[in-house]
């Protein structure tokens, strides 16, 4: 069990994490451009739908 005296530490740690993640730029988590979305949509939606229609 968590000791009572650690609760302020825990809340402080949570607050720091919230600030860090909220203020972090998207680029710090790796680039992901519109081209990535286009690739995913073509690969996982457009081609599969066409394949399903052809196989019908």
């Amino acid at each position: 069990m968590l000791e009572q005296e650690h609760v302020p530490d825990l809340q402080r740690d949570l607050e720091q994490r919230i600030d860090t993640m909220q203020n972090m730029g998207d680029a710090e988590l790796g680039t992901f451009s519109r081209l990535d979305w286009v690739i995913l949509i073509v690969f996982a939606i457009v081609i599969p739908v066409i394949a399903m229609e052809l196989a019908r």
Binding site: L14, E15, R17, I18, F43, A44, V49, R56
Partner: protein, 489 residues
């Protein structure tokens, strides 16, 4: 802040340290704490995707369609379904380091997300139980293949062994899970290729493509429509594991691409092996036909790897379930070992009554699966169209009414109503229990309807009605303080 490695002693008493509470708890996970880089993300997704649930799905399709139509539906359907659920969950959980149920709060509300949590836990633990029974059955088949008579209790004992191994892996953290996957993934790739090779050489491609479905429905169009439906539903059913995996990856590309490739494409291919074996051998269970087809040594090795893949899948499911249990106030600060033991507790019933629960399981889980489509549709609309990919992280962890996601007494009834609407949409188009379908089913899979309709209604309701109302309510309150008033961690 502690920088102890996740595989260390941290699952016990030292969990109040920041690093460990993010790994074994719900705190936002910082980039340096995340386990999965390129190869480990691919390895984990690959191993997770090859559980024996693939063989169940593929074998089920053999009842309705032939090999070509079935393969297209399985691969294409899994790709479509996976992207439908992964787009928002993967992006949001990765960007903010959030646990999956926390990511539901901006749409469903602080307390509304707990309703999603109930379905989530039932679904994840139910699936884990079924996979462990298949792990137990695999042991029985290995013993039979070696010429011994497996006793009746062996399947249940196998489930108990599976629970124990899963407990050991899960309590040692994501790092151990990643190591385990790195070891078994190369073997699994060989086994999958070997299975397909054995089927094609033993039966020939011509026999495979000309094989007739085993138990087709009377109306021809219904068979293909059901196959499409099952393919997409299979992809949607990855909903439970997406957030956990994305949260643990270092870059966004490593979060979403491996999920789509492995849960969509690879899973579709492995399902196709079961489809083909179902069509030409009459059994979708590889633990039954691998030994006769591949010989004792290769067959047993294949069975062992398939069994290990089941352990991986169960471990990921239990890890995600354990994190989700942290939403229950009494469990937030308990040790990780206690939490995982708690998730294992319902699985004990599968060790006692493996056959009985397995026989009831598919109907129960088919119903649970229909819940995931509307939740995924609402989350997609909420994250991309309404929140514009911006989440107020402070409000996720704020239980006080001043939190942005408190809505009405902690519930967003519009989003929760969307789940019910999705159920009506699904069963109005197709009833999987009776195989009755509306004419629309020919063109519109029920899962897609249950995904799109609640999403549209939710978007319109929030955009033109509730969003302004809640903004006015927040404007009348005190501005958000710098510190959390009622942190829910």
């Amino acid at each position: 802040m502690s920088h102890q490695k996740p595989g260390g002693q941290g699952a016990g008493h030292e969990e109040f340290h920041g690093d460990l509470l993010s790994i074994y708890g719900r705190e936002p996970m910082l980039p340096h704490e995340r386990e999965y880089k390129f190869w480990s993300a691919h390895g984990t997704c690959f191993a997770y995707s090859i559980a024996t649930w693939c063989f169940l799905t593929g074998g089920f399709l053999a009842n309705y369609v032939g090999a070509i139509q079935g393969m297209v539906c399985l691969i294409a359907g899994n790709l479509i379904g996976t992207l439908m659920v992964a787009a928002s969950l993967s992006a949001g959980c990765h960007r903010y380091g959030l646990e999956q149920i926390d990511f539901c709060k901006p749409a469903f509300g602080q307390n509304g997300a707990r309703i999603v949590l109930i379905f989530y836990l039932i679904n994840m633990i139910g699936w884990s139980g079924l996979i462990l029974v298949m792990f137990g059955n695999g042991i029985v088949n290995v013993v039979d293949a070696m010429g011994y008579q497996a006793p009746d209790w062996l399947a249940g004992a196998g489930v108990a062994l599976g629970i124990w191994i899963t407990y050991i892996i899960t309590t040692r953290g994501v790092h151990m899970l990643s190591l385990f996957n790195n070891i078994i993934t190369p073997g699994l790739i060989v086994v999958v290729c070997f299975m397909f090779y054995m089927l094609v050489t033993a039966h020939g491609w011509d026999e495979i493509v000309s094989a007739k479905p085993l138990d087709p429905l009377p109306e021809a169009w219904m068979n293909y429509a059901v196959a499409v439906e099952l393919g997409i539903a299979s992809g949607i059913s990855w909903w439970g594991g997406i957030g956990f995996l994305a949260r643990n990856t270092k870059t966004r590309r490593n979060a979403i691409y491996p999920e789509v490739i492995h849960f969509g494409l690879v899973n579709g291919i492995v399902c196709s092996i079961a489809l083909v074996s179902g069509l030409v051998i009459g059994s979708d269970d590889p633990t039954r036909w691998m030994v006769p087809l591949g010989g004792l040594a290769m067959g047993v090795m294949a069975l062992v790897f398939v069994a290990l893949a089941n352990i991986t899948s169960t471990s990921v499911s239990l890890f995600a379930s354990g994190l989700a249990l942290r939403h229950i106030p009494g469990l937030r600060k308990r040790s990780w070992k206690f939490i995982i033991a708690l998730t294992c507790l319902p699985l004990v019933f599968y060790a006692i009554w493996p056959t009985e629960l397995f026989d009831m399981g598919d109907t129960f889980l088919a119903y649970n699966g229909t819940m995931q489509a509307p939740v995924a549709g609402i989350l997609l609309v909420d994250y991309f169209l309404l929140k514009k990919q911006y989440i107020n992280l402070r409000s996720i962890f704020e239980s006080a009414p001043s939190g942005q996601y408190y809505y009405t007494k902690g519930f967003n009834f519009l989003a929760l109503g969307g789940i019910i609407l999705g159920q009506f949409a699904y069963f109005g188009i197709y009833d999987p229990f009776t195989d009755q379908a509306h004419g629309l089913f020919r063109y519109l899979p029920a899962t897609v309807a249950a995904f799109v309709l609640p999403g549209l209604v939710y978007w319109a309701g929030m955009k033109f009605w509730l969003e302004g109302k809640y903004e006015q309510k927040s404007a009348g309150m005190e501005p958000s303080p710098e510190r959390l008033i009622e942190p829910n961690i």
